[in-house]
Amino acid sequence: MTTTQKTADLPAAKSADSAGTPLLQVKDLHVEFHTRDGVVKAINGVNYSVDSGETLAVLGESGSGKSVTAQAIMGILDMPPGRIPSGEILYRGQDMLTMSGEERRKIRGRKIAMIFQDALSSLNPVLSVGYQLGEMFRVHQGLSKKDAKAKAIELMDRVRIPAAKERVNDYPHQFSGGMRQRIMIAMALALEPDLIIADEPTTALDVTVQAQVMDLLAELQREYNMGLILITHDLGVVADVADKIAVMYAGRIVETAPVHELYKRPAHPYTKGLLDSIPRLDHKGSELYAIKGLPPNMARVPAGCAFNPRCDRAQDICRTEVPALHPVTEQDGTTLVGRGSACHFWKETIHG
């Protein structure tokens, strides 16, 4: 069953790739929430894409819209109060927003899987881990209860959970935080999806465990040649695993860049501020930089560039005009592939 499915999918994937269609493409996505206190525009025109084997890191503070975008892709937004007034989410060129509920359900888990931040609350507390893993095979592949359990044990071995056979009937609360997150990863990997969305997969973990979990995720991604969208607020995690980065602020992408270029030469004051506020050993003793002010209240986003009240460079234009995502070039005008900045003064930021 598994093998036939894989071979059936492969040519399609190849042809899609050769035609230049990305695995997943988000086009001008808008999401708003209708609350008692009015309409909150959580996402205002987000664009990004991921290819097979590629890792996109989406970086931003809480409330920047990074998780909401992911939920929109998965189709797990609470609607209402959420609403998607416009935009497209293309999976292999097909818009998932226009699909029927049943079509989308078949993509979820099988083609696109998600890893959540808090594995303890994201796993069902009253069902055994083996049951929750096996459920993927039972529902999507029609396996028997027994075969599904065998598969679950196999999966737990894959993500290197010790004594998988003995622990398959344990419940989520009986595992440590790191082990639980491995179970989440195993669940996402179960059907070898094309794309995994990991929403802050390591935030809830101890630092030592964080690295192990990230390494495991990166390794499995390489092995299965999956696309990965890594949502995080942690610049440290990003540097090691991501290919490209999209920085989000107040529901918009403010900067995109290949990972190392972003670190070397940020083209947006917000990104620059984030990088400057990383504590560094070679600057020991000097005062740590911090971006002044607080992230905006999404019900009252400042006019113009949303970052203007916290920006050192802010001019009058920043308070009136929303900057578009400008293509970023070298000083001589050479295009920098994959780079963009939504700042009126991107030139000054990157070059001056």
Binding site: F33, D37, E61, G63, L235, P279, L281, L294, N297, A299
Partner: protein
Amino acid sequence: MPDLTKTEETEPVKAPVAEGAPVPPADPAVGKPRSLWSDAWSDLRRSPMFIISSAMILLLLVIAAFPGWFTSLSPRDSDMALYLQKPQFGAFFSPEWLGYDGQGYSVYTRLIHGARNSILIGVSVTVLVTFVGGLLGMLAGYFGGWVDTVISRITDVFLGLPFLLGAMVILVSFETRAVYVIVLALAVLGWTLVARVMRGSVITVKQADYVMAAKALGASTTRILFRHVLPNAVTPVIVVATIALGGYISAEATLSFLGIGLAPPAVSWGVDINTAKDLLRNAPHVLLWPGLMLSFTILAFIMFGEAVRNALDPKLR
């Protein structure tokens, strides 16, 4: 707010991006800090359930206080010539409006005069139960130890005995059952519920930092109890007591119906329903109207209690 948490200190290549107040997109209302009570009040004023139930209760209170405003007859003015006369729905608020019962009493007049006892009993039991149960529950929760053991075991015993059953066993021993006897009987059985809720609430509150702080600053026990613990622990008690009020009214009517609550010449809807039950087939109105009036009263208090709960305990919404 550039405070770095522990994890960020231990790993050098990490930026504290998520510092500052998180702003969840679904709940953007970060207005001025409002207190629980003023917040609850502004919720209540907008709640239709609260407005409707308040109006119902107000009406009932006026009826209970001034029955003479609504009917000219006394509840014991009997005219056997009018035996089981059917209601005349055109004759609003006149004695014959809702017909006459098997003793020639005006059903409407009895309805009006029955309100006082019901509400008096319901409110008195609630007040008594809240004070006694609240105090004992607070002591049990705050002091723990043997105080808690004694009070908790007693509440266990009372909670093992179904409420109505207990009330029946107590009341059947009394030859005459005045209003205060019924109030006491219901209160004796009812305080345990409030005590249990208060105890749980106080145990949560007493571990709060501000109580610890008050203790550390050397505040007296009474001051801590009444200034710090009580105001913060009282909310669930208010909610439980308000909702229970409707239950006490229902209990009184049930007991009177069974013949072990109020008895004639006292006027009670329960008694009226009891005398009407044998006439159900021929004269349903004699039973229906007191039944509806009783239900209306219970409904008013329960709706009120729920509106208060929704406002005070947003988690339950």
